[in-house]
């Protein structure tokens, strides 16, 4: 039943997600939903990394690297599409670089290391004025150009970025789905559950961890690039903000670590709830739901974050599905 349920739910969700632009949503709401989808991408990519046992408190670094790269490339006159792709690539490289630290750090130390990593990039963006524009950042980032084979007006309406955000989210979910049923997923799970034991079975843990970082960083970088494209500015304090580290952490843990769709659904729900229900009434406190969700998750989920990590995926892996759900 759970499997059918998930498929049905996702089909309905997909249909719903195609709907807003077609029904003539107000551009502001379209922008909100697009941002929610971006957070879905960020949360799913966070979850992908956590699936390999690595807890990040620094996804803002990957997001911001993608954002700055996309901004710089498109400002230099190259195609904004190329800029997005390069944003993903730089996000992946930046994540792989800190992923190397997982050779020596794990758990809380790695979490702190990734937190410091974000601060390092924020500091660089502040100080490397010639390239990054310093504290004032970069403005006037050009919009995405129309593609001949894509019947979307990307320059003038929010519809284009909406569909792009949706495409990114579906892409990261599809990639995660593929990983769960491949040797990658097997290696990630083994490294997460018992790194030492895995190494005795021929698994060299570090490359797998770095790969998980790179994949996660790639999608975060893509999201960062699109975000910058939507807001048209990039500033160190805005994009290397811990907001972009906390939110994916909250959404993924709240939505269910190791589940395929949980983080994305939690991202949509939490983000839209806070923006639509709280922001209009108590603007200063609209981040309250994230803070409270994080506190609740930290206190009341059995075994906390670490205890949750090894939870099995809700999807049957490699055809061994029948008894996976009952136990645990």
């Amino acid at each position: 039943m759970p499997r059918r349920g998930w498929i049905g739910t996702s089909l309905v969700a997909a249909a719903l997600l195609l709907f807003p632009p077609l029904s003539g949503f107000h551009p502001y709401y379209l922008y909100l939903v697009s941002t929610a989808l971006l957070f879905g991408t960020l949360a799913t990519s966070w979850n992908l990394l956590a699936y390999a046992g690595q807890i990040s408190f620094g996804h803002a670094a990957f997001f911001g690297l993608g954002g700055y790269t996309a901004a710089l490339v498109s400002l230099s006159g190259l195609s904004p599409w190329l800029a997005l792709a390069l944003g993903g690539a730089v996000g992946a490289s930046g994540a792989a670089a800190i992923g190397m630290a997982s050779a020596r750090l794990s758990g809380a130390s790695l979490a702190l290391g990734t937190l410091a990593y974000t601060e390092i990039w924020r500091g660089i963006a502040h100080n490397w004025t010639a390239v990054s524009g310093g504290g004032a950042g970069l403005i006037g980032i050009p919009p995405l150009t129309p593609l001949p084979w894509l019947p979307l007006d990307l320059a003038r309406s929010r519809t284009g970025s909406y569909y792009l955000a949706l495409a990114f989210l579906l892409l990261v979910i599809a990639v995660f789905w593929g990983i769960l049923r491949s040797r990658l997923g097997l290696a990630f799970a083994a490294v997460r559950e018992e790194e030492e034991r895995a190494s005795l079975l021929g698994v060299h843990p570090l490359p797998w961890k770095v790969l998980a970082f790179a994949l996660s960083g790639f999608f975060s970088g893509l999201a960062g690039g699109l975000y910058v494209n939507m807001v048209r500015v990039v500033e160190p304090d805005l994009i290397f903000s811990h907001y972009f580290s906390i939110l994916p952490l909250v959404m993924a843990t709240f939505g269910g670590l190791g589940t395929l769709l949980g983080p994305a659904l939690a991202a949509l729900a939490l983000y839209l709830a806070s923006e639509l229900l709280l922001h209009p009434y108590i603007p200063a406190f609209h981040q309250l739901p994230y803070a409270l969700a994080l506190i609740v998750v930290a206190l009341y989920l059995p075994g906390g974050l670490a205890g949750l990590l090894p939870s099995p995926s809700p999807l049957p892996k490699r055809g061994e599905g029948e008894t996976r759900h009952g136990a645990a």
Binding site: A187, E194, G202
Partner: protein, 242 residues
């Protein structure tokens, strides 16, 4: 040259000398038993041989290659497999996946097809009598089943040398009989076995040679009947037999 050789192996944990210059040699296709009281350094020796610990002094050769200070995955790929005294499966994964890990990552050539790997994992589970548990999560297994899973995981990398840490401990007499039978089967398959057991009776029946460790040093080495008669072993063990 023996398949596995260790010379002058020492291991210090802070001020504690867990091993003091141990020499060992395990000949190909032999079953060598390792006995010793609690805390005598048996598991520590296995941890060194499998690459989890680096010895403070000494050298190890396996199949003529120097493997001292190689990392666990390198040693595993060269053909040494091991079990743990207290089973350490991937508790939140299925029994099947636990075995599939070694089958999939034991060598760097990734040519094998997924289908072949799956079939091999199924065969391994059948060998240890866990075929019916393939899709159970490892943490739901009983103690005996965990021991079987340990063995299947150790075999999953197709080792030539197996380091078995107290396979028979904690099992019922019936379970021990089965372990003795496993030892026979593994030997027939041409595997070399280095086995820690607490029970003389188990080792006396399966081992070609016995080593006795006491306080980090080898105190006896020889054929089972010689070793078990030696006065040093009797003092080391005084009343230790289960």
């Amino acid at each position: 040259m023996a398949l596995l050789e260790g010379q002058g192996l020492s291991m210090a944990f802070g001020g504690l000398l867990a091993l003091r210059g141990v020499d060992i040699a395990v000949e190909e296709r032999q079953v060598v038993g390792l006995l010793g009281p609690n805390g005598s350094g048996k598991t520590t020796l296995f941890n060194i041989l499998s690459g989890l610990l680096h010895p403070t002094a000494g050298e190890i050769w396996f199949g003529g290659t120097r493997v001292t200070n190689l990392r666990p995955w390198q040693i595993s790929r060269l053909g040494i497999g091991r079990t743990f005294q207290i089973a350490r499966p991937f508790v939140h994964s299925t029994v099947f996946d636990n075995v599939l890990v070694g089958v999939t990552f034991r060598s760097r050539d990734h040519v094998s097809r997924g289908e072949d790997r799956r079939r091999e994992a199924e065969r391994l589970l059948a060998t240890v009598g866990l075929a019916g548990k393939a899709s159970a999560l490892a943490h739901t297994l009983s103690l005996g089943e965990r021991k079987r899973l340990e063995l299947a995981m150790a075999l999953s990398t197709r080792p030539t040398l197996l380091l078995l840490d107290e396979l028979a401990s904690g099992l019922s007499p019936k379970g021990r009989e089965e372990v003795v039978r496993f030892y026979g089967q593994l030997k027939e398959r041409g595997l070399t076995i280095f086995a820690i057991e607490h029970s003389f009776r188990v080792l006396a029946r399966v081992a070609d040679r016995l080593l006795v460790l006491d306080q980090g040093a080898i105190v006896a080495d020889g054929r089972p009947e010689q070793v078990l008669g030696s006065p040093r072993v009797v003092t080391a063990y005084l009343g230790e037999e289960e």
